[in-house]
Amino acid sequence: MLERVLRLAIILAIFAALYIAYWKVRSSSRSHADEPPPWRDSRVLVLAAQVAALGLIWSAADYLWANFRARTSDIGLELDFRFLDQPSGISIADNPLNSNAAIREALTQGVRNTFLIIIVGIPLAVMFGTLIGIARLSTNWLLSKIATVYVEFFRNIPVLLVIVLTWTIFLNAFPPARISWLPFGETFIFNNLRFGFPSIVSGNNFGTFQIVVLLGLLAAVALWIWRSRLFDRTGTPHHRVLYGLGTFVAISVAGFIALGGPFDITTPEIIDRVYVGGVTMIMPYAAVMVGLVLYTASHIAEIVRGSILSVDKGQVEAGNALALNSFQRYRFVILPQAFRVAFPPLINQFLNYTKNSSLAFAVGFAEITGVIQNLFGQSRPAPQLLFILMVVYLVFSLVLSAIGNVINRRLQIVGR
């Protein structure tokens, strides 16, 4: 290490000497005679400091990398990615992944499971957290105290504990599969391994029906835009939800009747331990999701509360002066302004949520961290797998940040 620093110092000294010589030659001509020497020239000094810092960082990184390479070649560790094509040997619960499939496919399924935690959980956490945040400011004493206790409870215990707690509650609150709880006339299944829900199966003309539904959706969007524009132009109440939803439902129902019942509803049942019909969700997934949402919502609630309090009191009074009721005041006056403040810290919570999802494997849900931990145990090379893991979380985080930034920009007041 010392050797490297010395070498770096010598190279920099040569640079400095050459530059000083250059300055000497230059300042001998009359037109440049008034230039200060380099050691008193602030531009040169700032640049030199930056070059030296960069050189130090580079030397340190190079040293560590060379050490790493020497060590890995000592113990004969290959640093390539060919192992990705070998059969993984592992399996993932309730995932069709074959245990002879390549490692890259196992990793893909891990990323998919992480994605499933994020895409469902973040909207839930935002909605729930917002409600709790509003509840904390409620004038209803009981409601605000309940919200306060909730926030203080979940905000102050480690997230891993929350997940294991949810899992333990689910594990013991729901019966084992052989005596599953079948509420609502056996249309649902709840046991401590899986939850089953009714679902749609395609019948006659299902493809056509899908097109009809899509057209209904397009018509609804068109109406929504038209009503919004009309409102902006003339101030006529837009009722865009009514118009849009009405059109969509009307077209869908008409299509359903005209096509003679293009889909059926199946309910799940268990026959000889096999789940038939409906859709099932594995309990650890639900437990992880609920745990993460409860935890993240407690943080979001505080952000929402703070943002609402940051809205000027005059805005509330203005709302009151316009005779808006409490819902309208929140919907049209306070929340739009509060969300502008809340959004940047919310993005942070989304990123935390994403990273916390890596704790899911403690309770048996194999998302990407779980899959990679599993592969470590099967003597797969750790450096490459860790690298992949970091890239995966980096990509998730960057995409979330990018989406968040776009939304954030649109939320900001357009300056004039």
Partner: protein
């Protein structure tokens, strides 16, 4: 004129800067070359350092090095350094008073009794799974007896020398006693709890996949979550090494049964470092003596009654004098470097294989199974002691 001069100077400046960059580049590439050699020098230093450390450690035994390495070193030190487990009931666990006990620990005592004549001259170092081979390679321990499975890659890549298997284990399945599952074939479409990152999971997928038994593997990071999941019937089946299942079954409040199916071979036994045949042989024959003793029917209780045995095989085994026909009494020397009475020390101080098994594993309701003597249809078979 002035302008041209300026241009000239500017060109000169550019050329100079370029040459500087070139110099920097070449010097940096030199630097790289140097740095590579620098690193290899560092590596050599570390290797040299380790070598020096090892020789330091070996300095204590340098006198006996020529007389046969580790066997003599252990005898000179007067204590056997044994690597073991401290968390596995029945095999290696730390007691309330801080002493170690268990099946594997007893074999440490067997070796101490054979080599040193004192079964208590053992110092057990508790090791986690990942530490065991590095510790063995470094020479910190003389022998490793820590429910370690003998595999080709460990024999090869880990520079380990596996000796007589003391326990033939295998991956098994545990179910609730009232589950109605009698063999693994009944377990189709069940959920099977397994630890993540283990060969157990690989065996499970491979074997049940080959047999066409559909199942859901529910993978846990530790037994802290796996055990409640099994108790709450989240999974109907728990798979692990059969001996470990038996150990856990003894701690559960529910009635369980272990299925007869064993889907993998897990031979567990003592391990020494490669490169010291004399030491390996001494350890091996010490361990095998317990099995031979059971075959002879010699126990720690009845060993005294064999002092005047007529059986020359038993007399030779126990190091008792044998008449040569001319009225001279001679004691057979087998040339293992062990005392001639090593077997009787082992049996009187620790016991034979059956006694060790009964003492440690019978309380876990483990049956002998493949660990019975070959004369009883098991796999315990040792070469003759002559």
């Amino acid at each position: 004129m002035i302008r041209r001069g300026n241009a000239l100077k500017r060109t000169a400046g550019v050329v100079m800067a370029l040459s500087l960059v070139a110099a920097a580049c070449s010097s940096s590439s030199d630097g790289e070359a140097e740095s590579t050699t620098g690193v290899s020098a560092v590596t050599e230093e570390t290797t040299a350092g380790t070598a020096a450390d090892t020789s330091d450690a070996a300095d204590d035994v340098v006198v006996t090095q020529s007389a046969g390495g580790r066997l003599a070193a252990v005898q000179a030190a007067g204590v056997l350094e044994c690597g073991g487990n401290d968390t596995l009931p029945g095999f290696g666990i730390i007691d309330a008073d801080g002493s170690f006990s268990g099946f594997d620990i007893d074999f440490c005592k067997v070796i101490a009794a054979a080599v040193l004549g004192d079964s208590e001259a053992v110092n057990v170092t508790p090791l986690v799974a990942a530490q065991r081979f590095p510790t063995l390679q470094s020479g910190e321990i003389d022998v490793l007896i820590r429910n370690t499975t003998w595999t080709a890659s460990r024999d090869g890549a880990e520079q380990a020398n596996f000796l007589q298997t003391t326990f033939f284990d295998g991956q098994g399945f545990m179910v609730r006693a009232d589950s109605g599952i009698d063999t693994i074939a009944d377990a189709s479409n069940t959920t099977i709890c397994v630890l993540t990152g283990t060969t157990t999971l690989l065996n499970l997928n491979a074997v049940l996949g080959d047999r066409g038994i559909p199942f859901t593997a529910l993978e846990f990071e530790s037994n802290d979550e796996l055990q409640p999941a099994f108790v709450a019937e989240q999974c109907e089946v728990w798979t692990s090494d059969a001996s470990q299942l038996a150990a856990f079954a003894a701690t559960l409040d529910i009635e369980t049964s272990i299925l007869p199916d064993i889907i993998s071979k897990e031979p567990l036994g003592p391990v020494v470092a490669d490169g010291d045949t004399e030491w390996a042989q001494a350890v091996n024959w010490a361990v095998m003596a317990t099995i031979q003793a059971e075959e002879f029917g010699i126990t720690s209780e009845n060993i005294g009654s064999f002092a005047d045995s007529e059986d020359s095989g038993i007399r030779r085994f126990l190091g008792l004098p044998i008449s040569d026909g001319d009225g001279n009494e001679v004691i057979a020397e087998v040339g293992l470097g062990l005392p001639t009475d090593f077997a009787s020390n082992i049996i009187s101080q620790v016991g034979n294989y059956g006694e060790i098994f009964e003492r440690n594993l019978a309380p876990l309701s483990l049956s002998r199974g493949p660990n019975a003597l070959w004369t009883d249809g098991g796999l315990m078979y040792v070469p003759p002691f002559r």
